[in-house]
């Protein structure tokens, strides 16, 4: 079976979530890879949310907010943009391809754009393949605990 990526997506309530709802009411069809989490503003998207999504096994993370100048809270999307830029650098250092994290502006009327974006991102990630971060981290944790166990064993031996 071909690889189907998992995308966690954070949408601001006022524009982007409404845009995604519009895609629904207009019965537009798009790939089922994307799972949406509603936040009041893209400015609420804490970098830890993004990292957590990767940690839990997401292959991609999509953040959507209102277009520049349209944020319901004036400038939350600008704050998000700044964090996103830093975060892209950071995840690259961690060995995560920066194509796996996207920030896009979707207005309340852009249901079509949202559907296209969902398809496009799914396709990009299909080509990139799995992110495997969860597996890596799980493995790391396992080996760490094995090492710890070994150390404990060693200590015990020494004590004897």
């Amino acid at each position: 079976m071909s690889f189907e990526p998992k995308i966690v997506s954070f949408l601001c309530n006022w524009c982007s979530y409404t845009g995604a709802d519009l895609a629904g009411t207009s019965r537009m069809k798009y790939a089922a890879n994307i799972r949406i989490i509603r936040v009041m503003c893209s400015g609420r998207v804490d970098p830890t949310f993004v990292l957590k999504a990767f940690r839990e096994g997401a292959d991609g993370v999509l953040i959507c907010g209102c277009h520049p100048g349209d944020c319901h809270y004036h400038e939350g999307n600008y704050k998000c943009l700044r964090r996103y830029k830093l975060l892209t650098k950071y995840i690259k250092q961690m060995g995560i391809d920066d194509k796996r994290l996207r920030l896009e502006w979707i207005s309340a009327s852009e249901g079509k754009q949202f559907a296209e974006l969902a398809n496009e991102m799914a396709e990009t990630l299909r080509n990139l393949g799995p992110a495997n971060i969860k597996d890596k981290l799980d493995f790391f944790q396992k080996t760490k605990s094995v090492n710890e166990d070994e150390n404990v064993e060693k200590e015990k031996m020494e004590a004897i």
């Binding site: 079976m1 189907e4 998992k6 966690v8 309530n13 006022w14 524009c15 979530y17 409404t18 995604a20 709802d21 895609a23 629904g24 009411t25 019965r27 537009m28 069809k29 798009y30 089922a32 890879n33 799972r35 949406i36 989490i37 509603r38 936040v39 009041m40 503003c41 400015g43 609420r44 998207v45 804490d46 970098p47 830890t48 949310f49 957590k52 999504a53 839990e56 096994g57 997401a58 100048g69 349209d70 319901h72 809270y73 004036h74 400038e75 939350g76 704050k79 964090r83 207005s107 309340a108 009327s109 852009e110 559907a115």
Partner: protein, 577 residues
């Protein structure tokens, strides 16, 4: 924290969800989860029996958390929150999973859709475990209202509210009241005088003790929230005045389409091609003449100018067909011998008495011709050969299938409606959204058609979408009744999903203060901590994600709630069912 006892309800939404998502399977699956006490699926959760199901379960099974998996929370979150309240449970101990707009309506593979829906339900279950009871805050309503726009909608609103003894501030950007209608002679379908509708209203408003009119005035920025808004006005850029009010009606109307962008119609090039607005002026003055001062012998009326055509505006402007028929009637009265041609794509004369009006008009020796509105517009050309008419309309007449040349001396273009140029500025000032055509978006087209997503802000008339007098007035009265309702109550309950600072964890770095768009956070130097002013905070959560120590909690969108939602969403593999 007490152990969560969760009730999960998966809605079929008739077949809307059930045909694409295996609701029964999901309800069975989530039963296995920790803390899920009840899990059901039901045809219509939002119906009374659906809500009663929740209320009964809460009481009988001692549930303290509820998840409803159905449509978008933007539609029914409030409905279900009320049900919780009715059962004596705090309404915030509730979470919705959107498996209709975000799943069943957009996906085509039942297995994938079911799997996705399941993961969204799991996410909601995980999240709701961390929900906390929140107390609503009640705010007093300032009984004054601000009305933006002095057209028929704004005028009606002003009088309706002011007549109940409440203060109204009416803002108009132009130097007179009446809006677009001030230039209209008769109204359809009864051919009654617009002056008789408009003038008494304007007269009354100008004398009304409870209405203050601001002409030549535009809105810049509005501060505050429902019940307690505030703005500064600059009338004629001279005097400055601060207004305080509890509710806002946006009635900014429409702008006529500019037909000079349609090459076929040669507007601006041929002097006797005029817009319906210009023709209306002639009718009002009672003199119908060509630019050369002659009485026209043949007149063409072209419908749908700039409307229902992807190149211009895709939507129908809703009033132009009936107005075009009105012109045929007025022309027939004024020029009994003239040839009158109605050129239309489709005749859309809906509404009470309007189809009858169409039938009556068609008996008045008017020639109706149909053209292809999307692909083959008629062409207006100057007539150079003969002298007794100055233009020719070339039309591929659809019903007869013939190519016809119609000699005319005057062409009236039935121009469509567009959003105002400053629609975006106003939307920012009052905090509402626009659709792709720059008309304002209502909270819900059917369930809440005059309210917006900002409490206390209502949209009426053509700023919400093109409409005639009848619809505008109905909408306006609907909004007025909403406002008078809140004024009568004296207070409204507002959301308390604001930010709070944990004093023990706050390190006093003041990062939150620098990111808050509402200056809602201040610094307490004695305690060396940040303090949130709950009245000013709007709950965007930007401070929460900037706080380096995790001292700030965005209520109802806490780190813990969102992180657990992520865990829930990811706790399933796509492939396995």
């Amino acid at each position: 924290m007490e152990e969560p006892r969760i009730g999960v309800y998966i809605c079929w939404c008739g077949t809307n969800i059930a045909k694409m998502v295996d609701v029964e399977y999901i309800a069975e699956e989530v039963k296995k989860l920790q803390n899920v006490v009840v899990s059901r699926n039901y045809k219509y959760m939002c119906s009374d029996p659906g809500q009663d199901l929740i209320i009964k379960d809460i009481k009988e099974n001692n549930l303290n958390r509820i998840v409803v998996s159905a449509c978008s929370p933007r539609i029914h979150e409030l409905t279900f929150r009320k049900a919780l309240e009715n059962a004596g449970l705090n309404s915030y101990l509730f979470e919705m999973a959107n498996i209709r707009e975000h799943v069943s309506w957009v996906h085509t593979d039942r297995k994938e859709a079911t799997e996705k829906a399941k993961s969204l339900v799991m996410a909601a279950i995980k999240r709701v475990g961390f929900h906390e009871s929140l107390a609503k805050r009640s705010v007093e309503i300032n009984p004054a209202s601000l009305i933006i726009g002095g057209g028929i909608a704004g005028l009606t609103a002003a009088l309706e509210i002011a007549d109940t003894g409440k203060q109204v501030y009416l803002i108009e950007k132009k130097n007179s009241l009446g809006g677009n209608l001030a230039f209209v002679d008769l109204s359809f379908p009864d051919l009654s005088s617009v002056k008789q509708i408009l003038d008494p209203k304007i007269e009354k408003i100008n004398k009304h003790p409870n209405i203050k009119v601001f002409l030549n005035t535009e809105i810049d920025e509005i501060f505050g929230y429902v019940g307690n808004f505030e703005t500064k006005l600059f009338e004629n850029t001279k005097s400055e005045e601060t207004l305080k009010f509890g509710n806002i009606i946006v009635a900014t109307g429409l702008k006529p389409f500019d037909p000079s962008v349609i090459p076929e119609y040669a507007y601006g090039k041929l002097p006797d091609v005029i817009t319906s607005i210009e023709f209306e002026k002639m009718l009002k003055e009672g003199i119908i003449r060509t630019k050369a001062g002659k009485e026209p012998k043949n007149i063409g009326i072209i419908h749908c100018v700039g409307s229902r055509n992807n190149k211009y505006n895709e939507y129908c402007s809703r009033t132009c067909c009936a107005t075009g028929l009105k012109y045929a009637n007025q022309l027939r009265d004024a020029l009994p011998e003239a040839g009158i041609y109605e050129l239309y794509g489709d005749m859309r004369v809906f509404g009470k008495g309007c189809e009858e009006f169409y039938t009556q008009t068609s008996r008045k020796d008017i020639v109706f011709m149909m053209f292809d509105q999307r692909n083959d517009l008629p062409k207006i050309k100057a007539n150079t050969s003969k002298k007794d008419f100055n233009m020719i309309i070339e039309i591929n007449e659809k019903l007869s299938g013939e190519e016809l040349n119609i000699p005319v001396d005057m062409v009236v273009l039935m121009v469509g409606a567009q959003a105002q140029d400053n629609a975006k500025d106003i939307s920012h000032a009052v905090g509402i959204s626009m659709c792709g055509n720059a008309f304002y978006i209502e909270r819900h087209p059917k369930l809440d058609p005059v309210a917006t997503t900002t409490d206390g802000v209502y949209i009426v008339g053509s700023c919400q979408g093109p409409k005639g007098i009848i619809d505008s007035v109905s909408q306006t009265r609907a909004a007025v009744s909403r406002i008078l309702g809140t004024i009568a109550k004296g207070s409204v309950q507002v959301e308390v999903t604001t930010a709070v600072v944990n004093e023990d964890v706050c390190c006093g770095c003041q990062t939150c203060i620098s990111v808050c768009p509402y200056t809602a956070i201040s610094f307490n130097p004695e305690k060396n901590i940040s303090v949130v002013n709950e009245v000013l905070c709007k709950g965007c959560g930007t401070c929460g994600s900037a706080c380096p120590t995790g001292a700030i909690r965005s209520r109802h969108f806490t780190d813990l709630q969102i992180l657990s939602q992520i865990e829930g969403i990811m706790s399933l593999e796509l492939e396995e069912v």
